[in-house]
Amino acid sequence: MLEKALVGSKKYYALVFFLAAVFLVGFFFFLKQLKFGLGITGMSRDVSWGFYVAQFTYLVGVAASAVMVVLPYYLHNYKDYGKLTIFGEFLAIGAVTMCLLFIVVDIGQTHRLFNVLLHPTPHSMLFYDMIVLNGYLLLNLICGWTALHGVYKGTKYPDWVKPFIYLSIPWAFSIHTVTAFLYAGLPGRHFWLTAVMAPRFLASAFCSGPALLLLLIYIVKAFTRFDPGEKAIRALAKTITYALLANLFLFGCELFTSFYSGIPGHQFSIKYLFAGLHGHMKLVPWMWTAYALMLVAAVLLVIPKTRNNLGLLPLLCILVVIGTWIDKGMGLIVGGFVPNPLERITEYMPTFPEVMISIGIYAAGFLIITVLYKIAISVMESRGLI
């Protein structure tokens, strides 16, 4: 099937070369980072994780959200998702790859990466994160590829793949749970030390991921004959709605616990993010934008008339994607580090090379997704399915 990736329209080639070029620009900045060290980023002794770890966290969510199409299709036999599941799984492959790349660029001694395998440490949450992320990548490769191969051959997917499909469902939940546990088990980081961290991660994942999937599907629909069907799009919009409401609800739970209890340590980070602390307020406009976007999207998604308006829906998806991205990709990680354990404040903003490296990784991820989607579309076309 891979040969389908090699032939395509001029637009397809242009996109592939554009993404590859952006990736190379990012790679150039990564070489600079390798030479100078992570000091090339905006991170510091006090804010020791930044943009890279935040993008990693956001993308684990995107990857996990494939389960929102896989689960209804395979467990509930929801036929309308038939065409969508492969795209969900392929999005997961691209997202997990980006996650792994963000880890690679974030560690200080890149060539020592495999020390994690050489000295396996079961009391470290990173050990489990490594297992679940790589496992999830493999599961989606197996499930997505065999499902598409079934289409290619004009048969159903083989029976041996079924256990892998069933396994991929709880596995999707596990990747984001373990990622939440990276943060939620650290003493002295009040902002992260909360039992609703994993549920909140899953809620924000299950709205942002499907919203991104829908946007990609809209793009695919505009350039090819592929159409998942109105029913599938409407069903996915409902998933986004419920998950977005759950995400906002869980954030409200955080606010209640922090402010009704009145414990200052639990409030500092939230105050820093939304009102600023001692005049430090770099993230305040970002956070208000994030929550304004999510609230507007939530209201418009709850109202059936606006949710079912297929022309408006992509716009709502954009609001959800940007809102959740700022919340998780900017606020969540940095907020946990401000103030520092000695209650002093150091602010953080990513630097230009840091942003370029990140864009490079996104280009690599979307390159993978583009190629995989192209293969899927061509296979479906060759079978006359679309």
């Binding site: 100078f36 060290g37 992570l38 000091g39 991170m43 510091s44 002794r45 006090d46 020791s48 994780w49 974030d106 560690i107 200080g108 001694q109 890149t110 020592r112 990466l113 020390n115 994690v116 050489l118 000295h119 440490t121 009391h123 470290s124 949450m125 990173l126 050990f127 490594m130 990276l182 943060y183 088990g185 650290l186 003493p187 002295g188 980081r189 340590g265 946990g336 580090f337 520092n340 354990p341 000695l342 209650e343 002093r344 150091t346």
Partner: protein, 208 residues
């Protein structure tokens, strides 16, 4: 380790311990604060003990500075989270670092509730003015912190900070031995430990 902060206050602004430690261990002096590396440093009461400080604090504490360093916790969160066991607890309780195994993921920095760890954001060597050839320098991309001078303990010497203090403000000893000098001091004085409520069991005590 017990630090008599009364003695420190009496002889302020003495920084002999800090200079000795940082010189012996080739800790770089990086002027850019975000990339700073420090094993032992001073801060005010409200920052050293943010959960204990309050607005009616005694006059005695005003202006008193507290030496801060790795607490060599009984249950160290940094050791729990390290994915390669590059940081580990020795049998004698010292929390050690293997800077050659560290991959620089900085999970330990997120986990330490005392801000005791520093990361080499860039090559530290140009910032070491007077290198000590008897102790290794570090490379960029690894985490470092106070090692309780394991290399000196092995030679029967005191940690550099304790030895450098002319006024005897820093006393080290074996907490596990009930007859040790340090246990005698702890019995006779009221001491504080940093953030005890987190359950990490810090091994640095402060006489107020």
């Amino acid at each position: 380790m017990v630090i008599d902060t009364r003695v420190c206050q009496k002889h302020a602004p003495c920084e002999d311990c800090i200079h000795a430690c940082h010189h012996i261990h080739n800790v770089p002096q990086i002027p850019y604060k975000k990339h700073e590396i420090k094993w032992i440093w001073k801060d005010e009461f409200e920052h050293a003990f943010p959960d204990t400080a309050h607005e009616y604090a005694n006059e005695v504490l005003k202006g008193r500075e507290f030496l801060l360093l790795c607490n060599h916790c009984e249950h160290p969160p940094c050791v729990r989270v390290c994915p390669t066991q590059a940081t580990f607890k020795r049998e004698d309780g010292i929390v050690m670092m293997d800077m050659h195994r560290c991959i620089g993921c900085r999970f330990c920095m997120a986990a330490c509730p005392y801000g005791s760890r520093s990361f080499n954001w860039r090559d530290p060597r140009p910032f070491i003015k007077d290198p000590n050839p008897e102790y290794p320098t570090r490379m960029k991309g690894v985490v470092e912190k106070c090692t309780f001078c394991t290399e000196r303990l092995a030679q029967g010497k005191l940690p550099a900070c304790a030895e450098a203090c002319k006024y005897g403000a820093i006393v080290v000893g074996d907490l596990a031995d009930p007859h040790s000098e340090i246990n005698k001091i702890l019995r006779e004085h009221f001491t504080l430990r940093r953030k005890v409520h987190l359950g990490t069991g810090p091994s640095v005590f402060y006489i107020i």
